[in-house]
């Protein structure tokens, strides 16, 4: 059946597509909703990580003794006297019962909110020193305004939103960079195995099989435990990345090997070999471009595993240490009394962020995989991804 496709002139584009030039963009986007959603989600998170300082109203590590475990601040337009205001404002709050962490609003005075409020100093985009933040309470000279907590405050009265935003920097640094490095190592090993064949291939792929089967998180923990527990953040990040790369290359290696040994048999590769192409050039110019889309798709699909590993390590207290925040370490505050405190969603917001990010990576990965399959079909090849029964054949 596949051989019939091979000779069809231009498959792929659906008949319903409008071929007029002004519809070109719409046609390109057709049927790629999942891919676009995924890319959009990932871009959204990247933007948040880059602009975290601007978006966060307070320093992620600054404590406020007055409002531990405070629920999210209510933003008001209508004051206690029943009058409406154009500018949103908040009331200061007072802790009335430390045992149940219940708060009461002090309605004597309203504190208006403003865009681009002044706060702690930072360097915007690591270039321009500034102290502007997207929103905040308006502070007048010699006056202390209450803090606004959109997601409530944690045990030490730190703003949860600020911590979530700054935490996204660590989480989005370690997960994707880990996945990228591990993928690079995996591709290197896989291409070497697929290109050389013979016993190099056998040894490397047996190794990859074993790696894939092992309980990775247990190994990560074991390796992590041999290092001192309280590492400074930069060292902790480096250590985590090294461990992730050493233990995470296997899946990419298997895929890269399957693709390489498949692509090596293609006519254009055989032609390049017969023209005296060097192995390095052959791999870089002829094999890798053909394998790029499936590899990228798989790299996106293994990315969540790295993010989740970082989350788990930080949650278990051997990743980033306080007061640094990452999505995992923020979740350590959640306990069995989650629902009794009554702002569960705010407390679980890091989990929600993780979920959305992973969802984005999966959607984009699935979309790219589909793209790869379609492109192969247009070029008239059977899709080259490693077959499911390959393991059977080898055993």
């Amino acid at each position: 059946m596949e051989s019939e496709n091979r000779y069809r002139a231009t498959p792929g584009e659906s008949q319903s597509a409008n071929r007029k030039p002004q519809f070109a963009i719409r046609n390109r986007l057709r049927g790629r909703g999942a891919l676009l959603t995924g890319a959009g989600l990932l871009m959204f998170f990247c933007l948040i990580a880059v602009l975290a300082d601007l978006l966060a109203p307070y320093d992620y590590s600054s404590l406020s003794r007055r409002e531990p475990l405070a629920p999210p601040t209510t933003i008001r337009f209508r004051d206690a006297q029943g009058q409406w205001h154009a500018r949103p404002f908040i009331y200061a709050r007072r802790l009335i019962d430390p045992a149940t962490q219940s708060y009461e609003e002090i309605t004597d005075r309203a504190y208006p909110l403003e865009l681009f409020a002044r706060g702690y100093s930072y360097e915007f985009l690591w270039l321009f020193p500034t102290d502007l933040h997207l929103f905040g309470t308006r502070v007048e000279a010699g006056d202390e305004a209450p803090r606004i907590y959109l997601l409530g405050a944690d045990r030490f009265g730190r703003d949860r939103l600020s911590r979530l935003l700054m935490g996204s920097r660590y989480s989005l640094l370690i997960g994707p960079i880990g996945a990228l490095l591990a993928s690079a190592l995996g591709v290197l090993i896989g291409v070497a195995a697929g290109y050389m064949g013979g016993w190099t291939d056998a040894v490397l792929m047996r190794g990859a099989d074993v790696m894939m089967a092992l309980p990775t998180l247990v190994l990560i923990l074991a390796v992590r435990a041999t290092f001192p527990p309280g590492l400074p953040p930069a060292d902790a990040i480096k250590l985590m990345l090294i461990i992730f790369v050493m233990l995470g290359w296997a899946e990419m290696a298997r895929l890269a090997r399957g693709l390489t040994s498949e692509l090596r048999r293609r006519e254009y590769v055989v032609a390049a070999v017969s023209l005296g192409c060097s192995p390095a050039r052959l791999i870089v110019r002829h094999i890798l471009p053909g394998a790029a889309l499936p590899l990228a798709a798989r790299a996106l699909l293994i990315l969540p595993a790295f993010l989740l590993a970082e989350t788990a390590l930080s949650f278990l207290g051997v990743g980033l240490q306080e007061p640094e925040a990452s999505w995992g370490s923020l979740l350590t505050a959640v306990d069995g009394k989650l629902f009794k405190r009554g702002h569960a969603l705010a407390e679980l917001s890091p989990a929600l962020a993780i979920m959305l990010f992973v969802l984005g990576a999966r959607l984009l990965g699935d979309g790219l995989g589909k793209e790869g399959r379609e492109r192969e079909k247009i070029q008239g090849f059977e899709y080259i991804e490693e077959s499911k029964d390959e393991k059977k054949k080898e055993a």
Partner: protein, 312 residues
């Protein structure tokens, strides 16, 4: 078959050896042990030195490794530095508990994904089929950590569920209802994996000619599904099962810690926290060995299911 088992045993032994060498080697580079975590003001320099010499921590690393290996080869994994008990006696019960929760999780994931997968595969594009796509996406992108935290909070705030609530005491029986909440949480990511695989496998099997022949013969639908479609579809499903065992073990670290199921995962975390290296080494090796044994079992199952593979 015997060749497979022998080669896997050999390979397993090699892997365990490599892991143990790796961890011992890392220890030399990083330094520090459970004694440096002790931090007891009453313990003088001398006492700590004495404790070190009792456990042989002052000897050169090669010698320690040789001794450890010689004992491990005889089935003795050494003595925990912190919990003051033989490592194996500390691991035995948690291993059974984790095995229990993993088994229940696998059973849940399998039964649900078989039911949904078969229904979805029979009618591509139907409501169930589309529902399955959503479930696959959600189940595989929801972090187990978040689910476990949510479940914990639910258990705490609902009086009804608290009957099966978390087992905090160390003497929780292996056969206890308390295994159900952690098992359900563990089964969610598996469900995503299995359901995707089941749906594709059954759909492909239903397109085969022998299914059409069976239908033409007038075989009832349940027989077509269970006897003719399920068996060829089971091949890739067993492969996924084997591959997911490592993930189950990894997942159980977080889930057990959060939900208070005193299994191997929780033990790993406590060993990491106290830097109890003998215990940690034991736990890691046992976890790896258990997963590899599970993989071997999956491969044997694969050969039983597909006679064509038996002679390879």
């Amino acid at each position: 078959m015997i060749k497979l088992i022998l080669s896997r045993l050999l390979q397993g032994a090699l892997v365990l050896l490599i892991i143990s060498v790796l961890i011992f080697w890392l220890l030399t580079r990083a330094g520090g042990d459970a004694m440096s975590m002790l931090d007891d003001p009453r313990g003088s320099e001398e006492t700590i030195k004495k404790i070190r010499s009792i456990h042989g921590l002052n000897r050169p690393l090669m010698e320690r490794y040789r001794n450890w290996l010689a004992e491990a080869a005889r089935g003795d994994l050494g003595h925990s530095l912190v919990l003051q008990a033989p490592v194996w006696s500390l691991i035995r019960l948690p291993l059974l508990r984790t095995g229990m929760s993993a088994t229940v999780a696998l059973l849940i994931a399998w039964s649900v994904s078989l039911m949904l997968g078969i229904t979805a595969a029979r009618r591509p594009g139907s409501l169930v089929d589309r529902l399955c796509s959503v479930i696959i996406l959600l189940a595989s992108s929801t972090p187990g950590l978040a689910l476990a935290l949510l479940a914990l909070a639910l258990i705490y705030s609902t009086p009804l569920i608290s009957v099966v609530g978390p087992a905090t005491n160390a003497d929780a029986g292996v056969l206890s209802f308390r295994v159900i909440p952690p098992a359900i949480i563990l089964s969610v990511p598996l469900l995503g994996l299995f359901l995707a695989q089941t749906r594709v496998a059954i759909r492909e099997a239903l397109d085969e000619e022998f299914v059409r022949v069976a239908r033409a013969r007038g075989a009832p639908e349940w027989m077509v599904l269970l006897r003719h479609a399920l068996r060829p579809a089971a091949g890739p499903l067993i492969t996924v099962l084997g591959l997911s065992l490592g993930n189950v073990m990894s997942g159980s670290v977080v889930v057990e810690t959060v939900m208070g199921w005193p299994g191997l995962g929780q033990l790993t975390v406590s060993a990491v926290e106290t830097r109890d290296i003998p215990l940690l080494l034991g736990v890691t090796l046992v976890a790896a060995a258990a997963v590899m044994a599970g993989n071997l079992a999956a491969d044997i199952l694969q050969r039983l299911n597909n006679p064509r593979l038996r002679n390879i």
